[in-house]
């Protein structure tokens, strides 16, 4: 079977699941790059080099997706025939959205607080804790092997996306404050 026709899990010979053995993934990633990386073909013809770039890029992409929980969850749903970005899905609970707005407002006002760096650290800790909870919920959504209804997982992914965006905002503020 050629690499192009394989999904990200097949490339690393891993079972299709939300739980991924991180060590096995990293180990196999390195083994595969030892075979396909363009540096291994620096002496070959132009065609072989192009082939190496394509293969190495595909393996890099698959690795990137599988090692990140949000990208992995979205990819897993994609394999189940659900495109998260194109699905409206169930509405998110008002309580969750309220909390999001509060966190955003606090981030927006960080500069005006007496100790902005400390305040940012407090918010960051809160976001990290929420993220962990959401991840653990997502694990539960995916764990049952006989899942037919992916709607809870879609909701979980959408919530997690909010947390990633908050984290980006926190990182950006941190750069500006230091």
């Amino acid at each position: 079977m050629t690499l192009q026709s394989q999904n990200h899990y097949q490339i690393f010979d891993l079972p299709v699941a939300f739980d991924v053995d991180g060590r096995a993934l990293a180990e196999r990633y390195r083994q595969l790059q030892q075979v396909v990386h363009p540096d291994k073909y620096a002496n070959a013809g132009a065609q072989q080099q192009r082939l190496a770039v394509q293969h190495a890029a595909q393996i890099n992409d698959a690795f990137q997706v599988l090692k990140d929980p949000l990208l992995r969850a979205k990819y897993l749903l994609h394999l189940k025939g659900v495109d998260v970005d194109a699905t409206n899905g169930d509405p998110l609970e008002p309580a969750f959205l309220m909390e999001q707005m509060e966190l955003r407002e606090r981030l927006g006002a960080v500069r005006e607080t007496p100790a902005p760096v400390a305040e940012l650290a407090v918010i960051a800790a809160q976001v990290a804790a929420r993220r962990e909870t959401l991840l653990s919920n997502l694990h539960d959504c995916f764990r049952a092997s006989d899942v037919v209804d992916w709607r809870p997982a879609v909701v979980g992914v959408k919530k997690l996306q909010f947390m990633y965006r908050l984290q980006d905002e926190i990182d950006r503020l941190e750069d500006e404050l230091v």
């Binding site: 010979d13 990293a26 083994q31 230091v178």
Partner: protein, 625 residues
């Protein structure tokens, strides 16, 4: 009794001749060339035993070009025709040049051209051409020492160089007539040189402060694989800035105000640099400003030096913090911090970095040579001299690559710190009925507005068939190769029409200009450009044939039918027949035909390799249980 030769899979049967390859550190202040001989990497000295080549080029009215110490000696007496620190202008436009600090010791021609040209008596020169002169001088040094032409070179660039700066570096190599095996990031090269591949495992940080650039890279080492987790930096911050800070202090002390001429500025920078270097050992140093109408003497002590440079050193710590965060690593997880670059000789830099990383930094290899040595090790491997090595470098792009969308916003296509090579596609659509063209603006940087990021290139996709707004599906594909260089293509997917793309590099030289420069440099080298092209084709033919012979010996029996093998061998014979001839086009055609016929074989070999790699893990896991 005849002995049967049995080869391991993955090893070629016949040991091939050692290929001459070198690593080049093309630095802001100094450049070096290094190579591996008898298994030992070392930098190569010139005829007078000097390893460092000052990155200074002097142009005379006669057309004579001086590179290195001879050129540096003319810096103060002939500042306008002596170009130094040219690395700061690689891949940069005139407006950037202006922002690099007012007191530039030479002048730029202001013509209607995105690529700035420095005014000299020998005519205007670009940063690419100046760099090419430095590269040629280093190549000649290597040829003289090693006694033959180089197969290829690895040239190092700051990890934080953007696409335009990398492209400019590769262009300089082309103008110098060098075959580039790889552009390698300087901190990664340093990690290799530190022999961290030996038995070291874990996470390392490389802090690289050169003359004009700063990089921090966080790497994970595992069984010979160097995986860059994150990189950050500032491609316009280095020891030069320390010199400028001291020079400005001297100007204030000497009551000169800002009214100094080019010669005086060069002199001030020279004195400033000497004072800085002396303060690496001494607590204080006596400064004497003489000549060119300068007359002042006084004392500069460490305390004053720290007051001048602390904010600059502090500026390097923010990227350190960001790199750690992007890598998802805490300071306590770093095993060692490696110091690279001449500016890390300044004790204050070591102190402040040591305090930040909470450990004393490693300084046991000469910080000036470590990058060139790492590049030489990688060049030796890429040239094929160590076929069984496990060493593999997995690097990242330092800055996000994006595309301009409606309203002057940036949409990220490939985020920073993504491992290369990488390919990403993104779909866009038309916003007007019957729209037949789409402008694609490729940018690099982290900010959200197009005006705040660097413009890399503008493409125009034409010939989109008339459709209602939103019906077209235009797929834009970004591909970054192992050199960290980007190529972009665009295609309308609904009709399958691949429309033509026009590339306008924002700060780059066109192919036409590079060919012209190559032609000009060849006339000096008494070598005909056509002869050079022919030789390149012959080298490529040799490479293809040798690689294929190895591949057939290894996998021919397993992966090819008898007929397929005969067809390939027939085509090899044809290439072998033409490749020593004088018809470059015939050689090129024969190479293309051979690549065409071996395409399937190449793909099968790669897939077989992948299967073997995964089977390997199954066996180990099985034996462990």
């Amino acid at each position: 009794m005849a002995l049967l030769q049995i080869s391991e899979p993955g090893q070629s049967t016949a040991p091939h001749a050692h290929r001459l390859a070198a690593g080049i550190d093309l630095g802001t202040t100094n450049s070096l060339i290094a190579t591996v001989r008898s298994g030992q990497p070392a930098t190569l000295p010139d005829g007078e035993g000097r390893h460092l080549l000052p990155s200074v080029v002097h142009y005379a009215a006669s057309g004579e070009v001086l590179v290195g110490a001879a050129a540096a000696a003319l810096q103060v007496s002939d500042p306008l025709n002596t170009v130094s620190s040219v690395k700061r202008f690689m891949g940069r436009g005139l407006e950037d040049v202006g922002s690099l600090g007012g007191n530039l010791p030479y002048e730029f021609v202001t013509v209607d051209d995105p690529v700035p040209r420095i005014k000299t008596v020998a005519g205007p020169v670009t940063a690419v051409e100046v760099s090419a002169e430095i590269l040629k001088t280093l190549e000649q040094r290597a040829q003289a020492t090693l006694g033959g032409p180089l197969t290829g070179v690895v040239i190092t660039v700051p990890a934080y160089f953007d696409d335009a700066q990398r492209q400019a570096t590769k262009d300089a190599a082309r103008v110098a007539g060098l075959q580039v095996l790889r552009l390698l990031n300087e901190p990664t090269a340093a990690a290799v040189a530190y022999g961290l591949d030996q038995e070291a495992e874990g996470v390392y940080a490389v802090y690289d402060l050169g003359g004009g650039t700063f990089d921090i890279s966080i790497l994970r080492l595992n069984k010979g694989v160097f995986e860059v987790m994150a990189t950050a930096g500032d491609s316009a911050l280095g020891g030069d800035d320390f010199d400028y800070a001291i020079a400005h202090w001297l100007m204030a002390q000497a009551g000169l105000g800002d009214a100094v001429n080019h010669r005086q500025m060069r002199r001030l920078l020279q004195v400033a640099r000497q004072a800085k270097e002396q303060l690496s050992d001494a607590e204080q140093t006596h400064v004497e400003l003489t000549d060119y109408g300068l007359d002042w003497h006084g004392v500069l002590d460490r305390e004053q030096l720290h007051a001048l440079i602390d904010s600059l050193v502090q500026k390097t710590l923010l990227p350190c913090k960001r790199a750690l965060r992007d890598a998802g690593i805490g300071i306590d997880e770093i095993r060692e911090i490696v110091m690279v670059g001449g500016s890390t000789r300044v004790p204050r830099v070591r102190d402040m970095v040591g305090r930040f990383f909470q450990r004393s930094p490693l300084v046991n290899i000469d910080p000036d040579r470590v990058v060139a040595i790492g590049a030489a090790i990688q060049a030796d491997i890429l040239a094929g001299n160590k076929p069984d090595t496990e060493m593999l470098l997995l690097d990242v792009i330092p800055l996000s690559l994006g595309i301009e969308t409606m309203g002057g916003l940036v949409e990220k296509v490939i985020p920073r710190n993504t491992t290369i090579p990488v390919a990403k596609a993104q779909d866009f659509t038309t916003f007007k009925d019957g729209q037949s063209a789409m402008a694609i603006h490729v940018v690099q940087g982290e900010r959200e507005l197009v005006t705040d990021v660097r413009s890399l290139a503008r493409f125009e996709l034409r010939g989109i068939p008339p459709m209602v707004a939103g019906a077209a599906r235009i797929r834009v594909t970004y591909q970054v190769d192992a050199d960290g260089l980007l190529s972009v293509s665009a295609r309308e997917e609904v009709t399958g029409v691949q429309a033509g793309i026009q590339i306008k590099p924002s700060y780059g030289l066109t192919d036409h200009e590079i060919t012209r420069m190559l032609g000009e440099s060849m006339t000096h080298a008494r070598e005909d450009i056509a002869a050079r092209m022919l030789r390149e084709q012959q080298v490529e033919a040799d490479r293809v044939l040798e690689a294929l012979r190895g591949a057939l010996a290894e996998d021919g029996a397993r992966l090819l039918s008898a007929d397929e093998r005969i067809a390939i061998e027939h085509q090899m014979t044809l290439l072998d027949q033409v490749h020593q001839g004088v018809d470059g086009n015939a050689i090129k055609r024969a190479i293309d035909d051979l690549e065409q016929i071996t395409r399937e074989f190449a793909a099968r070999r790669m897939n077989a390799g992948i299967e073997r790699a995964l089977k390997g893990h199954k066996l180990t896991e099985f034996s462990q249980t």
